[in-house]
Assembly symmetry: C2
Homo-oligomer: 137 residues x 2
């Protein structure tokens, strides 16, 4: 039997976050002590570790809900889980692409600025005048 604090220390998930996950339906409401405090078992610990891991990998809460549902049906085909992971991977790749374009544009703006005063600062000028941009955005 673990208290919510034990669970928190063992998984690295903060106490309020555990309660939040319960509210979001990622973990089922825990049993309670006589004084109404949450008491967890090993399975809850595993579930929470699963959630933490999925969050670290950037899955959002609805996706995690789906993954949990799938993981409880070992006999089902795993295409569903693959799909979720692949979709997420594409989303991550898209974000990277966008950020790389941003990076390039910012690099260009920053490196161009040899001015001494704001008047001829390339950073400010680039922001004021879209025509100075390389790419569309």
């Amino acid at each position: 039997m673990y208290s919510i604090g034990d669970l928190s220390r063992r998984t690295g998930v903060k106490v309020p976050t555990i309660r939040y996950y319960e509210q979001m339906g990622l973990i089922s409401p825990a049993g309670r002590s006589e004084g109404n405090q949450r008491r967890y078992e090993r399975t809850d610990l595993e579930r929470l570790a699963f959630i933490r891991h999925a969050r670290d990998l950037g899955f959002d809460i609805p996706a995690i809900r789906d993954l949990i549902a799938l993981s409880r049906h070992p006999e089902m085909p795993c295409a569903g889980a693959d799909r979720i992971a692949e979709d997420h991977l594409s989303a991550v790749r898209e974000k990277i692409e966008k950020l790389r374009k941003l990076e390039q544009e910012l690099e260009r703006i920053v490196s161009h600025c040899g001015g001494h005063s704001v008047e001829d600062c390339y950073v400010i000028r680039a922001l004021s005048d879209h025509g100075l941009c390389e790419a569309e955005h």
Copy 2:
């Protein structure tokens, strides 16, 4: 004289967003028509275009506030603006780094999954068992 809708069409910033920027102090409260509707001038248009541009480049609202303040003092040294842009660039690079690690891990997980059922699905197994991960996260 532009209405808020005119401004919106000309800058691509949605009407409620313009009002939001006013609330956040990025644009000064506009003059009003007799019927209390906002009326803008060319300078407001330029200011809003500046903001839009900065947002497209990912600057957050406090940073934009600072950039605007700087742009109104053309005689000041531009180190401040450079600093803001450089800081933002570093933040973007960090995000990219994190996402690239995520991408690698997800790629590995997805590509390993040759299972047919959830029981031996690598996606689910990897989430359940941190030991299957390549990198720390």
